[in-house]
Every structure is written in C-alpha cells, then in structure tokens.
Amino acid sequence: MARVRNSIWRGVAAAAVAAALLAPGAGHAQGSGKTLSFIPEADLRSLDPIWTTAYITRNYGYMVYDTLFALDENFKVQPQMVDTWKISDDKLTYTFTLRDGLKWHDGKPVRSADCIASLDRWMKRDVLGQSIPPVLGEMKAIDDKTFQIVLKKPFPLLLEAIGKLSSNVPFMMPEAVAKTDANTQIKESIGSGPFKFVASEWKPGAKAVFVKNPDYVPRKEPPSWAAGGKVVKVDRVEWDYIPDPQTAANALGQGEVDWWQQLPQDLVPLLAANKEVTVTSVDPLGSIGVLRFNHEQPPFNNPKMRQAVELVIDQKEMMTALAGDPKYWRTCYSYFSCGTPMASDAANAPLAGKRDFEKAKALIKEAGYNGEKIVVMTATDQPIVNAQALVTMETLKKLGINAELAAMDWGTLITRRASHEPVDKGGWNIFFTWFVAPDMANPALNAALRGNGAKAWFGWPNDPKIEELRDQWFAAPDLAAQKKVAEQIQAEAFESVPYVPTGMFVIPTAFRKNLKGVIVAPVVFLWNVEKG
C-alpha cells in the first residue's frame, strides 16, 4: 500500500510543484482575445449550486460566484471575499468585513445583507450547513461591508463550513436571488465571481459559455485550491460537453479543444503519445468508490453478511478493473479519505488484511443465509459504477451468494435505490457509486457513514453509536481530539459496515501543451490558466 501511495502521490506532488512554478503571481499581464475550450466532466443542467449537489454545478458555481472563505492546499481555510475577521474570546461572535471593490455582475456592490441571505439559504440545504441553525443565535449586518454571526453555543467548525470546498459550497449571491425558497431552483446567474455566465449561448447538453468578468478584483495571494487570487487570463471559456470519450480524445489530439477535464484512464497512452498534449492528474486527492448495502432488507440487514462481503472485497482488483494502471489508483482502507487529516489505519484489518473467503463463508453460514436472491444494481452508462458491480458479482459468486445483476441506466438506478421494498417488489440489496475525496474527508461530510436509520442516505444504516460519536466529533475542541473520535467512528464502521470503500482513484486530465498555470486541486478551477 505504501508503495502504491508513494508512486501516485509523488507524481501528484511533482505536478503540484510544477504548476506552482509555472503559475505567475497575481497581477500578471492578462491575456487578450483568448478562448479556452474545455470539455467538462458532465453536462451542466442546473444553475443552482445550493439546490443541487451535482459536481458540475459546483464547478459552474466557482466560475460565476465567489465565496467568503476558501480551502487552500494545506486544508486550511483562507479568506476569499472576506478581508478581515474577528472571533470573540467566548467563540460565540464572528465578525466579518468584506474586501473593497466586490461587485455583482450587474454592477451593484456586494453588501452584508447579500451574504447573510446567501448563508441562510445554504444552511437550509447543505449537510454541514444544516448543523449550524441549531446553535445559531443570529446573523446581522453591522454596516454594508461588515456583518456578524452570533452563536448560542460554540461551533468550532464554523469557518470550515463556510469555507467548504465541495458541494454544497456556500456561494454568495445577491440578496434578491438568495431570498428564493431553498427548495426552488434559481434561474439567475448573477455572481461576483471571476467569470460571467453567458445565458444566451447556453445549450444544455452541449455548450456553456463564460466570459471574463473585467470588474473582478482578485486577491493578491497566489492561487492555492479555491483560495488566493483568482486571476483570469483568458477572455472567454467555452465548456463543450462531448459525451463520447473517443471523440473527445480525438478532438483534443487534433487541437480542436484545449483541455479535457476527465478522461478514462485507458485512453492515457493514446494521448500521452501526442507531443502537443500533457496528460496528468490535477486532483491531488481523487475519488472513492463505494459499495452500498441496503440495511433494511435481508440478508444484508444482518451485520455478519456485510462483514463477510467486507472480508473478500479486494480493493486492488476493484481498482485495476476500474482504473487500470496503478498510477491512477491506490488502496485506501479507511472510512475517511486517505490523504486528509481524519484518515487512519485504525481497526482496518477486515478490509486491509488477507482476503479471507473461508472466514467469510463461515460468517454467511452463521448469518443463516440460504441462497435467497440478491439484487446488485449497476448503471451501464457509468463505467465507474459498472466496473465495481461486475467485479463484485464475480466475488459474490465465489462466496456462493445467489446474486443477480440488475442493469439499468443511472437515472433508473437512483430512482430504484430510494425503494424500501424487498427485492421481489422492486427493491435492491447493493448498489455502487463514488464520491470525491473532500466529500468523505470527515464525519461531518461523509453522508454514507451516517447511521440515522430511515433518515440516512440510501441504504439507511441504523447505528446509534456512530451518530453519538459524530456529535462528539462536532464538539471536539481541536484536531487531535477530532482525530481520536474519528478513529472510534472508524472502528465502529468496520464492525457495522455501512458501506465498503472500494478504493481510491484519480481521473486523469489532459490539456494542450500551450496551456500554462493549470491549478492542481480536487475541484477544477479555470482561473490562472493561460493559453500560449
């Protein structure tokens, strides 16, 4: 494991250094007449990053909107729209002052009231944001540029929450827009971010166009993940959604587009052979595969059955099938994203140890399983899901489990996974998905880990112990204490097995050699990129 980790992580670190060296400091002369043509990971369909958790809408959010705080590459929260801030000694009052020169795309200045309304809407939607209202006293504007968050009880994670990197990111929107009901999608795209969205050129399913926001005032610091100066060095960015990987590869190879955000690992050799193209990973963390059980239906309502599967799932096999070349994957025997502070090897023997079919079969026998049909759902339009499902099917077969593969498209899968019914009435036993590492980095963010029964994420694990430990984690005063609780949570998770992590993979990215200053981060950012 250590070796695998080294090779991939060292490569990424090298890329990070290179990108940092290539990145000219803020305030550098800006490009002119340049269009960056970019193939995004998915098709942009919703324009409300607070309403949906879809990553593509989050990425759109980073283009159009700005954030109060932002996470940097050292996992530290840094001010972005905020200039100065103060935390009272009793840790109950946070006072924020906005930077000078912040303006909405319609020319109006950004005011405290806008930020308060935006935070309010976000707290109604986001997993982490929803933990704030119970301890929140009030949010009030002191003047147009200064506002306060007053808590009833200390909430040590407040800045981490407001500076959240991945969905839902608390993007700042004008008050009138942010007053929209949190459960209704907004249609406007008035941000204060470095790009403006060109709504008239938006063709859902094909194209989204952004132009540089000339009024944006970047911070002076160099860019680091979402933090630092967002200096735009092109005039126009076009997202050309090309669903066919073969076509996308050829389009990039021929220079018809500049950058392909996510390519299948197997196409790397093809593009790597092209002298005009750089293939690399700009995501230092990667994503995590998830095998999810239905905890309500037999036989996986029995923890012994889940433990049996956990004992035989081979992350190496899973990841080879999913990502091929070991350069693009690593094992991660932790319930928290490896490479982030909460990750540990605590109690991970059932997943990290020898794959023990004998012991697993014994557990299955103890659980009293006698050949009932098990439905494993897969989505044929999602290769990452499909590869995990096909490998699991073979593994279950070896265990003597009577598994049936139910193939469908992703749209049907996520409908069917909401079913609480038994399998013969349209229910399910196992499905697969994956999350970007920041979404599984700690107990607050990891939705699949929660054990709050029927209210939990699909699969509905009921594990009060995990819930109790989760509350303790929120109250933990410092990092060391947090880590300790996280280890306890992980030990419990390896026992109760809410899901099985199937490994960590990075999806490579490829761009033309004339692009400079690509930012290495778990989220794709299009500022700082220069087209030579």
Binding site: R45, N183, P204, T247
Partner: protein, 313 residues
C-alpha cells in the same frame, strides 16, 4: 390540389394524437423518476418526495395529460425539468445542426445512390450490378457507429482532412460548415444510400421490363436515352416514396451519429433526455420527429404530381 393538402393535413391530426397519447402513457409508466435524478446523489428520500410534488408528478394521469395536451395545442411544449428552460427553446437552438445533417445526408445519398441504381439496372447481371448490390447489402450490414469510428480514424485523425467532431453553423462560413458535415453525412448516409440504390434498381428493372420500353428499344432509341428519359421518369415515384419512408431511418440514425460526432443536435437532446427522464423534452421531441416524418411524406406525395404527370390530386 389545395383541397388535397388541407385534407392530408387534417388527416395528420389523429396520427399526432395517437403519438401524443402513446408517448405520454409510455413515460407515465416508465420507472425512472426525474425527481430522483434532479435531487442528485446525496439527496434524501424527503428531498425527492418534495421535488416530485413540486413537479406535479403526483397528480393523477388524466390531469397531467390534460394539462400537457392543452398547452401543446397552444404551442407550449412545457419546461424542461432539468434546465428550467422552455422545451421549444431547447429544440429551436438545436434544430439547425440536425436539419443541416439530415438535408446534407439526403442530398448526398440521392446524388450517389440513384445513378448507382440506374447503372446497376442497366447492366443487370454484370459485375457492375453485383458491385452496386454488394455495396447495398454491405450498407445494411455495418453498424453505423463502427463506420463512424473508422471514418474518423482514417479521414480525421490519420489524414487530418476533416474535423473530428462538432458542428459549425452556416453563419460561421460555408467552408467550415461543409467540412464539419462531410464525415457525419457519410456515416449516416451509407445505409440510406444503400436503401435508395436498391429500390432504384428494383423499380428500374420493373419499368425496363414493361412493353413500352421494349417498344422504345425496337423503335431504335439509344439505350441511354431510354434509360433516363423513359425508365427513370417512370421509376421516380417509387424512388421518391422510399426517400420519404427512409426519413424515419435517417432520424433514427441521427441519434447515433450526433453522439459519435458530438453534434449538438436534436438526436443528442433526445438521448440525454431519455437517460435523465426529462419528460417534457422527450414528449416534445417525439412529437416533433413524428410531425417531421408526416410532413416529409406529405411533400413526397405532392412531388408525385411533378414526377408523374398522370398523378392528379
């Protein structure tokens, strides 16, 4: 003639009605829930239920169908569930690429296939005939996406003569417009050309065996003249018919071709909408396709009067 056109147009109303009811019922029964797709991967069951209600998906069937049909009659195809944009707008912004692709394919296929069929019938039984028939059979036997990939590999990647993907609007200039259309039209046109070549040959053989052609030959007319001025003229009606019927084939092929060549047309809109359960788009597009099919075939019927003076409406 005008009365005929009006009568035909009126006759399309029940056809479209059948299509509307059929498509609506189909989607009503379909298992995917757009609410779940919209809500995203991290959504809870409550989120989905709420969105389900907001979209009006929990209303009874007749209420939903009535509401939808009423607005369709008024030219409103509804609002796309995912993008919140009107379906008419989404269709309108994708009409040009699809129209350009189908029309260019149509022209290309007819220009290529009709002469092929004529020559084959003229030289029936010879190697020319066998070659044309061989092409026709092959055209039906190669899966369209395999052909598309091979074309891309050879003519776009290896020789670099044409762009790999995408679409250039005619507004951006004629040359880029045509360059982007060559490969997709060829990939899409093969099966269509095979079809037309075949039917041309069959119809020509049919006509050539008629007595008046023999008479023309006997009168000493040159065989080329007989072929073109007598035979082809008489074979024109079945050829036109197949051009019309084949439009359904073209529309089906557009779905695959647009996906492979990343052309932002209606075919891709359709596949995306089906995979996501964006009901209003699926309903609108199917209605549009079937209307296009009906209208093209009406035009074909009208063209009979031009092709064959004996036909009168």
């Amino acid at each position: 003639m005008l009365a005929y056109i009006v009568r035909r147009l009126v006759a399309t109303i029940p056809v479209m009605g059948v299509v509307a009811i059929f498509v609506f019922s189909l989607l009503y029964l379909a298992p995917g829930d757009p609410a779940a797709v919209i809500a995203g991967d991290l959504a809870t069951a409550d989120d989905i239920a709420r969105i389900h209600h907001q979209l009006g998906l929990d209303e009874p069937f007749l209420v939903r169908f009535g509401t939808w049909a009423w607005s369709v009659v008024h030219g409103d195809l509804g609002i796309s569930i995912f993008t919140n944009l009107p379906v008419t707008k989404l269709i309108a912004q994708r009409l040009e690429p699809t129209a350009a692709l189908t029309v260019s394919t149509l022209i290309l296929s007819v220009l290529l296939a009709v002469p092929m069929g004529v020559i084959a019938s003229w030289r029936v039984g010879t190697w020319v005939d066998r070659a044309v028939m061989g092409f026709a059979v092959l055209g039906f036997s190669v899966p369209p996406f395999v052909l598309a990939y091979v074309l891309i590999l050879v003519f776009a990647v290896y020789f670099d003569w044409f762009p790999v993907q995408g679409y250039a609007s005619i507004a951006d200039g004629l040359v880029p417009f045509l360059r982007h259309l060559v490969l997709p039209s060829t990939a899409l046109g093969l099966i269509y050309a095979a079809l037309i070549a075949r039917i041309t040959r069959t119809s020509m053989l049919e006509v050539l065996s008629q007595d008046y052609i023999r008479t023309a030959h006997a009168k000493g007319l040159a065989s080329r003249e007989v072929l073109v001025s007598h035979a082809l003229k008489n074979a024109a009606v079945p050829i036109a018919t197949i051009v019309g019927i084949g439009v359904a084939l073209l529309i089906g092929g557009v779905i695959v071709t647009e996906t492979v060549f990343a052309i932002p047309g209606i075919g891709r809109l359709t596949v995306d909408a089906i995979l996501r359960r964006d009901y209003p788009i699926i309903q609108g597009v199917v209605l549009l396709f079937s209307a296009a099919y009906v209208i093209v075939n009406l035009l074909v019927d009208l063209s009979y009067t031009l092709l064959d003076p004996r036909v009168r409406y």
